[in-house]
Symmetry: C2
Subunit: 438 residues, 2 copies
Amino acid sequence: MAQQTRPARGMRDFLPEDVRRRDYVIGVITSVYERYGFEPLETPALENIETLTGKYGEEGNKLIFKVLRRGEHESSGETDLALRYDLTVPLARVVAEHRGKLPKFFKRYQIQPVWRADRPARGRFREFYQCDVDAIGSTSPVVEAEMLAAVSQVLQRLGFTDFTIQLNHRALLTALLNAAGIDATRHATALVAIDKLDKIGRDGVRDDMVARGSSAESATVCLDAFESPDAFDRLVAQEEGGAAARQNIAQILELADAGPARGHVTLTPRLARGLSYYTGAIMEVAVPDLAGSLGGGGRYDGLIGMFCGEEIPACGFSLGLERILVVMTERAMFPEGVASAAADVMMTQFEGEPIDDTLALARELRDAGLRVDVYPDADKLGKQFKYAAARGVKFVIVAGADERARGEVTLKNLVTGEQTAVPRGRVVAAFRPNVSDS
Amino acid sequence: MAQQTRPARGMRDFLPEDVRRRDYVIGVITSVYERYGFEPLETPALENIETLTGKYGEEGNKLIFKVLRRGEHESSGETDLALRYDLTVPLARVVAEHRGKLPKFFKRYQIQPVWRADRPARGRFREFYQCDVDAIGSTSPVVEAEMLAAVSQVLQRLGFTDFTIQLNHRALLTALLNAAGIDATRHATALVAIDKLDKIGRDGVRDDMVARGSSAESATVCLDAFESPDAFDRLVAQEEGGAAARQNIAQILELADAGPARGHVTLTPRLARGLSYYTGAIMEVAVPDLAGSLGGGGRYDGLIGMFCGEEIPACGFSLGLERILVVMTERAMFPEGVASAAADVMMTQFEGEPIDDTLALARELRDAGLRVDVYPDADKLGKQFKYAAARGVKFVIVAGADERARGEVTLKNLVTGEQTAVPRGRVVAAFRPNVSDS
């Protein structure tokens, strides 16, 4: 009996055109990050389960894919491994493990899939790629500014002009919550509520904050401050840490203004970011026609310490490949030729004709940099032409008995219909303008 | 308390130099496969568990990483997903699922990790990359010949000259086993024994075959035939299917001779290949200084039918990235510059000097294609130089108060020690010979 052939729930097969589009975006991201001095890092898909648990909050914990122990332990139902849930926790582990080998200021990018057992929805998958940059080892605002510049340049090179980057600081939010009289023990849950402001609105957040133990008055003070930058500034300035955080944000904004982020970054008091490990600046990038963000990040000076016992400052930004692809597809932003045809040339085959000469010519064309397909069976010529045309292959080469007798091949352009007799020794030269140097 | 920071057992972190070496090899493989008209495909890391079970034999089944069901089912200890074990079974599923969208002759390459809970050993990991090419839809010997050519060209472009490709045919082995009087029901286990000939030797295989129910006489007939090509040819020629298989192999060898595989391929009667799904030609590539193979493959005309109910011919070859890397590392085969420094230039920073001008110059250099790092803190200049040198960065730019006053920057070559004053407006031009076009 035939088996189920669909991919698992929330997962996707990427056919050649999909892979080429994804690789194009990944190529742009990689190239920009390299120019900013970030280096590539890769970590295993599977981590020891205790590396991941307790890092993503209660909700996150439920979404981790856990792997059953093997062999004699399989029947116990116990798990010992888990699939990577993000790229930040593995980075923290790597920095702690390989500190001796890594430079003091380790700047890495990492573009790999992560897995979350979320309910699948439009643009939300259970396997998806994160494209992360992180800079370890410095508390300088240059780090945040460079990150904002790199992310901006990625988006600009992909063709985005209308993105906005919201910037805020965890210490400003702490100062605001203090000023509003919310007890420190309730800050984390208050931030989770505030993080949903764009989704559930002002009343929703207020109700949520009250349900989580803040007073209605305190919640109102916060929500009012999000609507008035002046009120926000006034409230945070009088609290401990507020002035320093405001100063840090001012420096980041000034430095970001010297680069490609200029005009895209705004201080946004209501930006909270869900994750609990942020300690300083937080950032999120969005475009008008996509609900949610294209990516986000921030400073997390405490996380690596959980792995190595010593506090090491760090700041990172993660772009969501799938979300970028959704917007680029809807806006038709891919350059022509990205999802190119499978081959530049197809060699035909005739029943009874020597194939080794065909393969030898294919080899010459390949050595010249062309992508060459060889039709594998000696079907009727019309059928072979139709196959090449359907696949978008532009040129077809025919070398039947007549052509061979004359020491020629026939080169047919399937787009124009033009057919040329080319001496066997000059076929590669005939393609010269199409030959790439790669 | 600090947490465990090692990667999970049998898994590895790839630091920047490792990633760059891996990416170099993957780049060569991709580029050659593209020139042979293969197209990229990617499938999810997780498959429904029933897609994988029953495809890899009893031993294989034990090595599959299985994922626990989630939510309310978690406590049941049941599993519903499993990690990709190879790239061939997912391909068969994809071909069955997407047949309407794929060309009749679907040629794909796929370079992705697979996971096997094998006992870790030198060069054997629990997460490793397979680099597969497969051609679906044709029984023509051109398919095998093109595959041998593509694999040979990959190895040649990586710098291998001493590889050998063993070629055999499952129908020749069937004919031999029949001629030796081994019952058809014992063929599969006999092949598993024969596959170990290089590892356990002639006596070991004979004992194993006898233990699995073949007679000692039959086993000896087979083992003798492996040492005498003439005896092998004589025995198989008289059996059903033997002559046709011999003819098929002769065609493949002749066609392979027209391309880069010339001189590397030899008919090897003892080559058996472990997997049960092969139906025609089988192949394996090796180099003298590595036990085991760099990769292998063959024709499997029945596997896709398990998913779509209709027999669809297919042939594939898989190169093992880790094994290629092991040999290339031992032989020092990587071209210079593959594991390059993190950056071409590093910008220094001074306490109290404006950083925005430094960032603006970094931007100009990046726009010109250079990889530019910015030292994040205003440490002592000597410390900044030392850091750049330790990381292999060749050029450092200093723009202190004196330089700024003269409208210049100092460009220092850390390799030669040479120091040049360059007008601020001519810095990019000073790098022109080093500027890449990428």
